[in-house]
Structure formats: C-alpha cells, structure tokens
Symmetry: C2
Subunit: 341 residues, 2 copies
C-alpha cells in the first residue's frame, strides 16, 4: 500500500535543503553545469537519490526555452504506416542518434487536418525542439507552418515544391530506378512495365523518371499502357498488375516502385498463370526484409534506410544547435540481385 505521491513530487528546493546547500548549487550539481566542490556534489546527489528527485521538465523548459524533445512525424494513415517495413527501419535509425544525444523522441501520426493543427500547436507551444517529417504528400504546408514558428524541420524525401531553404535527406531515387530498369533490359526484357508510387510525392515522380530515362537510354520507346499508378501498398500493386496484364499480355518485365507493390504484383502474375522470373522478371525498390523472405526472393534496389534515418536525425540536431541550414543529404542505392530478375 504505497502512499499517494501525486501531491508531492520533491522539488529542487527540498533537495537543496536536505543537502544543506542552496537551490543554485543543487541545480549546478544535478545538471553538471559549472563547478562545485566534491563535498557539495556528494550531498546533493545523495539527497536527490533519497528523495527520488526528478526535475520538473516544464519548469526547466520554461527557462531554457528548449524542450529536449523532437518528433518523428508520419503524414500517413496508420494502416499504410504499419504495413510498410520501410518506416520502422527509418524510425530505428533516427531513434539511435536522438537517444544518443539524450533527447526524447516522440512519434506521431498525423493524418487529418485536426491532428495536423494539433501538431503545429504542440510544437509551437514549446514542446518540440524540432520535427522530422516523413512521407509528406502533395503540397502539405506543415513544414512551412512549423518553420514559420521557428521549429526546424527535416524531411525525408525531396519536397515536391522546390524551395531551396528546406532541409531534407533522400535516396538517389531516379538513379536507383534507372539501374533497376537497365537490369531488366540487360536480362533481355522488351516489354517492361512499371508500377509507380504516389505521383503527389517526389519519390513517386523520381522513380518513374528513372524508369523513363533508362528506357530512353536503351532505345526503347515509352509506352503509357505499360505504366500503372500505385500507392505503395501491396494491394495497389496487385491491382495494377492485373490491369497491366489484361491490357498488355506480352509484358516480360516489371519495375515496381517499392517492394510491397512488387510482392502484390507477383501475386497477380502468379494468378494469371505466368511464372516469375520465367515469364515476367520483377525488380522492386527498398530492400525491406520482406524482399529476402518472399519466394521467389525479390531482386530489388537497396536504399540504406536506417542510414537515412540517422542522417535525418543528425541533420535535425545540427539545425537545432544552430549550425546554419544544412545541404540536402542524398544516399546512394545499389541493386541487390536475387531470383526475380
């Protein structure tokens, strides 16, 4: 039967009293700022330990004007977020460097307008020193709203509106997509289809651009009936492939803009009685864990997702520390050869 502590969180005041020093000294000892005699140090530490003292972060935040917390924000509905292993890996990378600096990382999903506003207010209210923004669609103004209030924002994925001032990290999407398509060409494919990502995001546009570029380089003319739009979900890949196959039965290669859609497409290909890679060679994008697990194993374009997360966090912390605006960070991709192409 523990007593009700809710009315009596020990303050710095009482710690100092018990240690026989002033608040100021106690504060210095506990935050490691300034210097203090080992005598005072021991006394304060002992008192804090004994009382189970925990600093009141709101009070500290009020005076330091920092919160020591940053957010990892996903502008996507839960379903999408949890269905794609891309996100957790990114989160993990970011978490690593943030925790390393002793900051709190808070994770939030903002999908609708109300939650969008809540986030901005929350951050502007002083609870967030910075924001990492993932999966931004179209012309969402969240970054601007945040930056306008002095909150540094780092995006993962090139923002679709070109503003030189915006910080972001990204993979070489166009280069990766081009490599994937070249591989298909090298394998002898002639009717190479593509399932694109959401075209309201740079990642969708860039990967399609890579596909077109590689086709052009190979002297294959671009055929619109070989391109279908997806939204990065498995289901969209399956649906798109079904349509593609119906419209153009001679398809012998496929570039899917991410692994999840590639898997969906492979289901559709199988259903149609075709084999992979015998009848249709397939290349995905991301190299999520799923790619290696599926049968047949998926040939795909690897992007170093965790590194992307680390870079994003690093970039944000730098900006919070005030080291000016950082240049975009672009990480390279590489083909991972497995069995689907």
């Amino acid at each position: 039967m523990s007593g009700d502590m809710s009315r009596s969180a020990p303050t710095l005041e009482v710690v100092a009293a018990l240690a026989g020093v002033s608040r100021a000294t106690a504060s210095r000892v506990l935050s490691g700022t300034g210097r203090s005699s080992s005598q005072a140090q021991e006394a304060v530490l002992a008192a804090a330990e004994k009382l189970g003292y925990v600093p009141n972060l709101a009070a500290r935040s009020l005076v330091t004007r920092r919160s020591d917390a940053v957010a990892f924000v996903v502008a996507e509905d839960e379903r999408t977020f949890f269905a794609d292993p891309f996100f957790p890996t990114l989160l993990q990378g970011a978490q690593e460097v943030v925790a390393d600096r002793g900051l709190q990382l808070m994770f939030m999903i903002v999908r609708d307008e109300p939650s969008h506003r809540r986030l901005v207010n929350y951050a502007a209210g002083g609870h967030l020193d910075g924001v990492m923004l993932v999966s931004l669609h179209g012309t969402d103004t969240m970054p601007q709203d945040l930056e306008a209030r002095g909150i540094p924002v780092v995006l993962v994925g090139r923002p679709i509106v070109d503003e030189p001032l915006r910080s972001y990290v990204d993979a070489d999407n166009q280069g990766g997509a081009a490599s994937a398509t070249e591989l298909l060409v090298a394998r002898g494919c002639r009717r190479i289809a593509a399932i694109t990502g959401p075209m309201d995001m740079a990642v969708g546009q860039d990967r399609q651009a890579g596909y077109r570029r590689a086709l052009a380089d190979a002297g294959i003319s671009y055929d619109e009936s070989l391109v279908a739009a997806g939204d990065f979900s498995r289901e969209s890949g399956e649906r798109a492939m079904r349509e593609l196959l119906a419209a153009e039965p001679a398809i012998d290669g496929l570039f899917a803009a991410n692994d999840l859609m590639a898997l969906g497409a492979m289901s559709a290909i199988g259903e149609s009685g075709r084999s992979v890679p015998g009848d249709v060679a397939v290349v995905g994008f991301d190299d999520t864990p799923l790619a290696a697990q599926t049968r047949p194993a998926l040939t795909t374009v690897r992007q170093p997702i965790a590194e992307l997360g680390r870079a994003m966090a690093q970039c944000l912390l730098d900006r919070i520390a005030g080291s000016g605006r950082s240049e975009p960070v672009i990480v390279q991709t590489e083909i991972v050869h497995r069995t689907t192409a």
Copy 2:
C-alpha cells in the same frame, strides 16, 4: 524569405495588450474558462489570430500541474511491434478517444533499460498525465515505478503478478482459446497441438489454460509433446510447427495462440506436404486483417482490438480525472469461421 520568428513567440501579455484587456481576461477567453463579455472575447480572439499566438504549454503545465498528454507505451522491440497488426489497431482505438478529449497522445517504444528509465523520468518530470502500457513482459516494474510517482497506468493484458490495484483491460483469453479448441474437437480432431504465446505474459498463460481446459472437458488427455512455445512472431510459429510435426506426425489439429504464428505454422504444414484443413485443421487468435487475406483463409478467435484500445484510453482518462480505481475491463471474444477449420 520569412523573418526569424524563433526569438519572439508572442506571449499572452502582448495579446492582452493588443486587445486592450488584462492577461487574466485574455487567458479566460482563450481557454474558455470562466465567463467574459463578447466584446472582450472578440478583441482577444482577433489579437491572438493576428499575432499567431500559441500558448506556451510548459508555462501552462507548470501552473496547472497537468500536461494534457498521455503515452501509449510498447514494451517490445520495433520489429515485433511493427510485424503484428494487433498493435496498430489497438493504437488506433486509443488515439480516437484521446484525441476526442483534446489530449496529445505520444507513442513510445521502450525496449531496453535506458529507455525504460527515460520514460519514467519523462513522466515523473511532469510531461505525461498517464500511461497506457502494452505488451508487458514478466515482472517488469514499470507500472509500479510510474504509479509510485503518481502517474496513472493502464495495462492492456492482465498483469502477471496479481495486484488487485492495477488497472487493466483484456480480452477473455481463456474463454476464447477454449472455444477454439472445442471447435477443433467438434471437427473431429483427436491429436490437437498448440503453439503458445510467450509464457512470461498472462496472455500466453491464459490461452494455454483455455486449450487445456477444453481438452479436459472433451475427455482428451493433455500431451506435452503436442505443445510448443512461440513468441507471437510468424517465424516462431513456423519453427514450432516443424518441431511439432517431426515429433508427432499424426497431428490433425492446431490451436495457435495468435494469427501470426498460425500463418507461420501453415507454411510449415504446407512444406511437410500436408494440407490445411484436410490433414491439419488450424485455428488462430486475434482476427487481424491478415487472417482474412491469407489463403486458405484463417479460422480464428476474434477479439475486438480497437474496442480494447478505446476501453484502455477511457479507463486511463477516468483515472486521470480521479474517478477512483476502475475495475478491469474484459471484452468478449467470438469464433470467426473461415476455411482452415
């Protein structure tokens, strides 16, 4: 080229000045507390809008001694969390009611000792009014640590150490598992295997207990060689089934303690050349979306996951509001008949 706002977030003071009223009045208008003349109201609102005023939450928190934020904490590593659709659905349910009350929900994953301590300090530091704790293993003392500091905690899943005071919500795991096993018996299975969840969690113990009870009720003796331990991951289900089949080839029914393991087990069954449900009937637990999507579709025990999340949040908010300690909430389960059994 927007000006640098970072040094000048407008305070209540300047809003009040611009509106020609006192801080107190401005505060009342903006927080909707107390009454104020429509005249003052208009003036304050206009001023706030014009200045882009956002309250400093740290300052408010310091005086109200509340943070208006609660956490959804998962004591599990990222991989596990993101692999199981159970969690996002739960989160969604919780998010609904939390957002409805205008509170912030922060999501955190605490897997190791450091992050564990960080969370407790963060909460004790006044940044959290309450905590929802998911997937608590063994004798983790996080709930006690938190409650000892006056932070209300609600668990999902019965805590494994029996303390009458702890608040939790849970499904009728034993009843559900018993129903599943009964179904297998009714289908004519005689050698019914079980793949359990982690036995350091009540959910693991309870579902196994349900299995044993149903077996006993049917007059079938419990055979240890028909039971293998899993950890709720797909891989563990696959591995367990392989071992089970090797040790006891005559198995004709399987109860898996969750859907993910059931799917893994079905892979192993397929690999062994057996068919589902022809040779081995299978029943899972949860009814996550995966259950309906897989081929053959999985017969399983449905628990209303989103409802569980809502109940959990509701329970927490009640406790924060001080309406005493709430009774455990137990939601009922039901069999969903598909094709695997």
